[in-house]
Amino acid sequence: MEYAIEMLNITKEFPGIKANDGINLQVRQGEIHALLGENGAGKSTLMSILFGLYQPDEGIIKINGKEVQINNPNDANKYAIGMVHQHFKLVHNFTVLENIILGVEETSKGMIKTSDARKKVVELSQKYHLNIDPDAYIEDITVGMQQRVEILKMLFRDNDILIFDEPTAVLTPQEIDELMKIMKGLIKEGKSIVFITHKLNEIKAVADRCTIIRKGRYIDTVNVKDVSKDELSEKMVGRKVNFNVEKTDAKPTDTVLKVENLTYRPKSAHKDVLKNISFEVKKGEIVCIAGIDGNGQSELVYALAGMIAPNEGHIYLNNEDITKSTIRQRTDKGIAHIPEDRHKHGLVLDYSLAENMILKSYYKPKFQKNGFIKFDVMNEYANGLIEKFDVRSGEGGRSITRGMSGGNQQKAIIAREVDSGSDLLIAVQPTRGLDVGAIEFIHSQLVHHRDCDKGVLLVSLELDEVMNVSDRILVMYEGEIVADLDPKQVDVKELGLYMAGSKRGEGYE
């Protein structure tokens, strides 16, 4: 059997961490080969080596049976390897066509010649059903379309080996289905695909074979159709994973959060982003705000956390009006907040892990005396959290957060917020981009927080999470709450109708 790519015994070490340790990856021609592993398992490092961004310390790479040396992405391109990065590499104020030819422009007399390129782009777009308008500007098209531009970029360069780095993380469910179809179309034309992911459903849906790595080590390569999802996740995490969230019935007690007639309209906007929102969260229950992204969930959380000022309405925490309180006052009164954007809000990426652990408590007497930070107390506290929440990093508390994997960054935030022991925990998409092991852990933490007689307000876009974790579901649609549902008495289909705005719950007509 001829392999399109063989990466044999690849080892790559970074200070403090062995990112890859003797990994083997063999991709056959014309197959979709999934690369499965937890956050921080070394998938991205391995692919960066294949793409020439890093050099391996050990091991060899063979392309179509011949040993090669890949020193930079240009070399990779020479061997017909193309990559769709997780964060797209597109120029936003260029057109689709300009982005595709960028770097391989044809010129005549110093002027760019686009006619041939345009013909080729249109042909490719039709052949693979990509439906792309070559003259649209990147900033005007959807994320799903931008990803297709990245795919076209590879096809335009006649790449035969296509790497997709977690391509579905940024897509809506419909776009994911479309992408799967496109990927299947590509292998029909003889391309080989490496599909990096930690979502098992997607592997079952499209992949032929799957290589699993764990903590930088090679675990196994399997035929996808011979194994079950449970077996895959067990190989990935190294233990049995429980997909069902273990929890008892909620025992709601006192009201911890009460929101009354909250309305918010941004200065530049013409309509209300939050319309007359009222709801309650009690201690001992997990209330989930469900809805399609962009229906006001983010603004609702910002208003609760004090990051924006609502135009009308009141917010009560433990029966105390906090509508006018500052962020710091709200933190002190008992609101913990796992933010939606971990890089923008959740962490100071250039601070060490330990410094980030006290980001919201550094001013408390525990961590300072007369304005001087007690660094020994900070380190001790951080090490405790790192151990308790299994936050993995190269150098423990001293690691600079920027260099940590996304999953471990998220765990660090969760450790900080959960450990604050606040009466109300607001968690916004706490499991986005995480692997099943980490998701299981975070869900159990949310349930544990609830069982300590605290309130949890969970904002999630994942239907599985909404159904499994919550004790009560509030559905948001266009800035309004349109239903208050019991997860035991509603199914996913019906929930979808509420989220799409085609149905309203009792009392919300």
């Binding site: 050099q55 100071v348 601070y351 980001l359 001013y363 300072q368 304005g371």
Partner: protein, 370 residues
């Protein structure tokens, strides 16, 4: 042997020593470049001149060394000013304005507030100059915090406004018609030497160097040990996260600029209270000591302690440059050489980058042998 190499490699892995090493390499490159310029300008005396340049700080023994300290103080303060603001995420290019506003305040008080006894006059002058510099830096800070005006632009504007206001102020109050400049502060009102003149006889050194180094150490402690510094750095690195964590990011911006301005103002006061007859000229040029703070901050890696050494180095090179005049090398050529060395020294970041790259290649090679 193995133990030693591992010790060395662990030392070079440290971020701090990497910074020091790359600063040293940058200085070395600057010196080589300076030598080339001397070779072109004055081939016959090149070696001798270059020797003077690099040994100048010790040429006349302690006198020269005292002179190094004297020249280092103003740029140490403006360098600290740039470095401090930079750690908080702001590029304080307003040091010339803050420096000259501070200098005017100090000279004005020294000359006009005769009711204060000379023994404490210099302390009042320095503090007032610092506050004036702080006030001058708060303006861009407030504009940035509340109106999101780019600090670089408002700082440049404040430089010119400050410089012109000082000229008008000098003309109106402390103008010396004999020289189109301000009166100078006499020795009896200047900063005392507290015996430093005995240690470094014949030089212009005074207690200002101790104040400057003390402020650098203070800034280091504020930055790295206090909750206040923790807040300032958090705002500088990521203002969104600082806000999310409940910090007042507007306060952080304004405070960091105010403190930075304070340092520049103190620098101006120490320079003009040195009792060397230094006067504020009625000339529409920005104070060079202000902008020279930028290479000091760069060379010192925006570290307050680094600023001490960077300023001493630049002072040292300047003293050496002065002695080169004895070889009939034109003052302008000397200025070019000194500027070239300072310029090259600012490449530290670039060299650090190369250094990191080389290191990662080396790590790879070593890994291959295992």
């Amino acid at each position: 042997m193995n133990n030693l190499t591992s010790k060395i490699s662990s030392l070079t892995k440290k971020e701090g020593s990497k910074s020091v090493l790359s600063s040293l390499i940058a200085i070395g490159l600057g010196l080589v470049f300076g030598f080339i310029i001397i070779l072109i300008a004055n081939p016959s005396d090149a070696l001798k001149g270059f020797g003077l340049l690099i040994t100048g700080g010790f040429y006349r023994g302690t006198k020269s060394l005292g002179q190094v300290f004297y020249l280092a103080v103003p740029i140490m303060m403006t360098g600290l000013s740039v470095a401090f603001a930079f750690k908080c995420g702001e590029f304080n290019i307003g040091t010339p304005g803050q420096y000259i506003v501070g200098a005017f305040t100090a000279v004005y008080i020294a000359l006009k507030w005769t009711f204060i006894p000379n023994s404490v006059l210099w302390i009042v002058c320095i503090i007032a100059a610092g506050l004036a510099g702080a006030l001058w830096a708060i303006i861009p800070g407030v504009l940035k915090a509340f109106k999101n005006v780019n600090v670089v632009i408002s700082c440049i504007m404040c430089n010119y406004i400050g410089m012109l206001l000082v000229i008008e102020g000098v003309k109106a109050t402390i103008f010396n018609p004999a020289g189109a400049e301000s009166y100078s502060v006499t020795v009896d009102k200047a900063i005392p030497t507290f015996g430093l003149d005995v240690l470094f006889p014949g030089s212009n050194i005074n207690f200002g160097i101790v104040i400057a180094i003390g402020l650098c150490i203070l800034a280091y402690i504020i930055m790295n040990k206090t909750t206040f510094g923790y807040e300032l750095k958090a705002c500088g690195y990521n203002s969104h996260a600082a806000k999310y964590a409940g910090m007042n990011e507007k306060k952080c911006i304004i405070m960091s600029m105010a403190i930075a301005g304070f340092f520049s103002g103190v620098g101006g006061a120490i320079a003009y209270l040195s009792g060397t007859g230094k006067t504020i000229p009625i000339a529409e040029t920005l104070a060079a000591e202000g902008f020279n703070g930028i290479p000091v901050a760069l060379l010192g890696f925006n570290n307050p302690i680094g600023c001490i050494f960077a300023a001493l180095f630049i002072g040292y090179i300047n003293v050496g440059g002065n002695y080169m005049q004895s070889l009939n090398i034109a003052v302008e050529v000397i200025d070019i050489i000194v500027a070239a060395i300072i310029y090259f020294s600012s490449f530290t970041l670039f060299i650090k980058m190369l250094f990191n790259k080389r290191k990662s290649n080396k790590v790879k090679k070593e890994g291959g042998h295992e």
